[in-house]
């Protein structure tokens, strides 16, 4: 057993690091609620959020981000489940080679794709469209998702699948009626991770979106920051709005976040 003093010291260290971890977040929140105007009173200026939403255009940025996130998460989840099912439960020619190519794709940084992609899409007149922002992210998330879902399907119970087969279920029915419902935890983890990556993505929308109407939330925030000095209430309110969806989701599904980032460390 350890002494009381040692236990207390441990808690002190943990508490110190916890404070350091949340301090920047609290600083932003405090600035967001503060008053920029000279002579204004009160201490909680919730109206800053409304101003950021309208005047700062964060309402529009967040809407774009929601659309992008729904498309990326939806498409990459569908493609990953289908591909992961095949790689995890079926044997076919070239499956190993194809899987390793996809696995390598997980490691490719976006920097190696977006420059060439930008100029090629420009030829096709596709830059500054949702396609240009969404599809590269769908591709990268599908690579990760295929890897992730393959692991789940490989580990799924053979007996259940065989029981379904005896009942006359084909591979399509087996997938959607049995394996997908059973794989909710694995699916949730994947969806949560892809959502976070998509929501936080900066480089791809920075390069692909030139119109203000297509700016995602982090992009809009960066441009807003460039126009104003830091430490202003409106900027902090905008930053809070941008971070809020991920943080709320994290607080509810933290186990999925932590498990996913640790087990999916290849990305």
């Amino acid at each position: 057993m350890i002494s009381r003093g040692e236990r207390l010291a441990n808690y002190a260290v943990l508490a110190l690091f916890a404070v350091i971890a949340v301090y920047p977040v609290l600083l932003i929140l405090q600035t967001a609620l503060s008053n920029d105007q000279i002579g204004g009173g009160g201490s909680f200026h919730v109206e800053n959020f409304a101003d950021a939403w309208d005047q700062g255009h964060f309402g529009s940025y967040l809407r774009t981000s929601v659309v992008v996130a729904i498309l990326v998460v939806g498409l990459s989840t569908l493609f990953s489940v289908l591909a992961g099912y095949a790689f995890g439960t079926m044997r076919f020619r070239g499956s190993e080679v194809l899987f390793y190519v996809i696995l390598l794709g997980i490691m490719v940084p976006a920097e190696a794709l977006v420059i060439a992609l930008y100029f090629d899409l420009r030829e096709l007149g596709l830059t500054n469209t949702l396609v240009a922002i969404v599809m590269p992210q769908v591709a990268q998330s599908t690579a990760f998702g295929t890897f992730w879902m393959r692991a789940y399907f490989r580990g799924s119970s053979r007996e259940v699948v065989e029981a379904a087969r005896i009942d006359g279920a084909g591979h399509w029915t087996t997938l959607w009626r049995i394996l997908v419902p059973m794989g909710r935890p694995a699916l949730t983890t994947m969806i949560v991770l892809v959502f976070m990556w998509t929501w936080n993505e900066f480089l791809i929308p920075l390069i692909m979106a030139t119109d203000e109407s297509l700016r995602t939330a982090p992009l809009g925030l960066a441009f807003f920051q460039g126009q104003y000095t830091s430490g202003t209430a409106l900027l902090a309110a905008g930053a809070t709005l941008v971070a809020l969806p991920v943080i709320v989701l994290y607080l509810f599904l933290q186990r999925h976040f932590i498990r996913g980032m640790v087990e999916g460390a290849v990305k």
Binding site: R7, N10, F17, P24, A116, L221, Q225
Partner: protein, 297 residues
């Protein structure tokens, strides 16, 4: 469904598998493989992004090593690896080792809080830390409060301190992750091992080297993979906090990729840089995981 082939078990040969993987392969091919190949192709030409391009062979790659500003970006990335990966891992190990003997309650709460920096958008992190580093920001206030006025400075505008200041943000992001990982790993080490070692007369240092460190190989590999890659791919943080400045003191490879392609009109250089960065990321990932796996056997 018509494609169903009754009587066959999973794991058996199946043609229909190709249909299942088709959408993934299509999107992967079009938006990863083709752009990757095109990036490699672009890197062999000199092109400003608009007019005609001229064949340049490997001269863009040579420039990466000879142009001080491009070489500097890689040096800065190495410095960031120290701040993003080495410091958090060492700090995490030290703290976790110090705490390994205790069974602490409330770890769930600490885990959530310590892991938080990992999920916040980097742009938001950058804005928060810019404010901390302001000439009249909280950091300088703190220094003046404790009487260290001479240390107070505009951190991000300082030629010597700008890069370490960016690096510290990486340390902030990575330390919680490492601590959470290592504490979880240590809680899985059987207590009896430590008791046996103590009976053999092993001190804390021997204990750490003989038991703790080998048991944590897997966690170390995960922590290093995540933090080293984050360091090598730093972009958002530099873009928002410093734009590579002051001068070129905080440029990093990703930033130079963007800068050369879209601001300087040197697409060949940008893509050559992207190719090298990709190779560095590959090699780092493989090396780290090799070391991690060897320990688990």
């Amino acid at each position: 469904m018509a494609l169903a082939a009754p009587g066959r078990r999973p794991g058996e040969p199946r043609r229909v598998a190709y249909l299942y993987i088709l959408p993934a392969l299509l999107v992967f091919g079009l938006f990863v493989l083709v752009p990757l190949a095109r990036t490699a192709q672009f890197s062999l030409y000199e092109w400003n992004g608009l007019g005609a391009s001229t064949w340049a062979g490997l001269s863009n790659y040579r420039d990466l090593f000879t142009e001080p500003q491009l070489r500097g970006a890689f040096v800065h990335a190495l410095v960031l690896v120290v701040f993003y990966a080495v410091v958090p891992v060492l700090l995490g190990l030290l703290l976790a080792a110090a705490m390994s003997r205790a069974v602490l309650r409330g770890m769930g709460f600490f885990r959530v809080v310590l892991f938080l920096p990992q999920v916040i958008p980097m742009v938001v992190v950058a804005i928060a830390w810019r404010q901390i580093y302001e000439p009249n920001g909280p950091l300088n206030d703190l220094l003046r409060f404790v009487g260290l006025d001479s240390l107070a400075r505009p951190w991000l505008g300082d030629y010597t301190w700008a890069l370490p200041s960016v690096g510290i943000v990486g340390t902030w992001v990575g330390t919680g992750l490492c601590l959470v990982l290592f504490l979880a790993g240590m809680s899985r080490i059987p207590r009896e091992l430590y008791e046996a070692a103590r009976l053999d007369g092993a001190g804390p240092l021997r204990e750490f080297r003989a038991i703790t460190l080998p048991s944590l190989r897997g966690e170390l590999a995960v922590a290093l993979t995540l933090t080293v890659i984050a360091a090598l791919k730093t972009f958002d943080l530099v873009y928002v906090m410093t734009s590579g400045g002051p001068g070129t003191e905080t440029t990093v490879p990703s930033y130079q990729v963007y800068n050369n392609a879209f601001l300087l009109g040197r697409v060949g250089i940008a893509t050559a840089l992207a190719v090298v960065l990709t190779l560095v990321v590959f090699v780092a990932t493989v090396l780290i995981n090799r070391v991690g796996e060897r320990g688990q056997r």
